[in-house]
Subunit: 129 residues, 2 copies
DNA sequence: CTGGATCCTAGTAGATACTG
DNA sequence: CAGTATCTACTAGGATCCAG
């Protein structure tokens, strides 16, 4: 464990290092942001292209998600004033740098999804009885 | 990039690898779960001990957060039937394994919080004009 | 001490319809 | 095509009271 990591652990959770995680998780932890980021990590995309690829997202939520990511500097929005209008979304450098940690979390999720579902089933079974 | 990582990227986001991330992020991405997990990563804790340490959490939300984590097999709840009753919460092995990825994300957040805030300020400034 | 039960509020998601 | 506007329904979260 390097010094940065130990710095993350050596504190009360009310301290800065931990507090700063919450807003980040609030951003990428919502229902759609990760999907958008992972999609854009492969290639930039137009609005409706994203909408088609993200199954079940509403137009409104895609707009809000993209605005949030754009505001945080993770996504770049490029408008081409043509007819019909064309808007491309791409990850910024900052957005790409987020992919690493997110992928790590994805790997963890993939690796343990069975354990988690088993634990849920066991918990629910206990709750029944 | 190793093969596992490329496996995470080489798919449409509607596919399994990406879909499985969402529920995990929904769990740890809520307002309190990460704080609880990070706290318990250092030492097991009693209910009110957690409540005191996590500034601003309500009794209700701590209960719900712990139940959720317990259901997912991340936290172990141990009841000591004494008077007064004593309940200890500790991370399971699964819970501890989650700390690594979460810490990685925390490091990313710490490293880029300034960039993010600058991007937000810039975005909000543009929105004004 | 450890919560369960209840009530209340504000925010947020989703569907739908409309616009440049 | 790429959104905005609006309306409704749901849920998260806090406050409070109660119980083992």
């Amino acid at each position: 464990m390097d010094v940065t990591q130990s710095a993350m652990l050596d504190h009360e959770p009310t301290h800065q290092g931990c507090r700063v995680v919450a807003p980040v998780l609030a951003r990428i932890g919502d229902k759609w942001s990760v999907l958008v980021v992972m999609l854009l990590s492969r290639q930039s995309c137009r609005f409706n292209e994203l909408k088609r690829r993200i199954d079940g997202i509403s137009q409104r939520m895609l707009t809000l998600t993209l605005r949030g990511l754009e505001r945080d500097g993770l996504v770049l929005r490029t408008v081409t004033p043509s007819v019909p209008p064309r808007v491309d979304y791409a990850l910024t450098e900052l957005g790409r740098s987020l992919c690493g940690p997110v992928i790590a979390l994805g790997q963890w999720a993939s690796a343990h999804v069975d354990e988690i579902e088993a634990a849920q089933a066991a918990f629910d079974a206990r709750a029944e009885g």
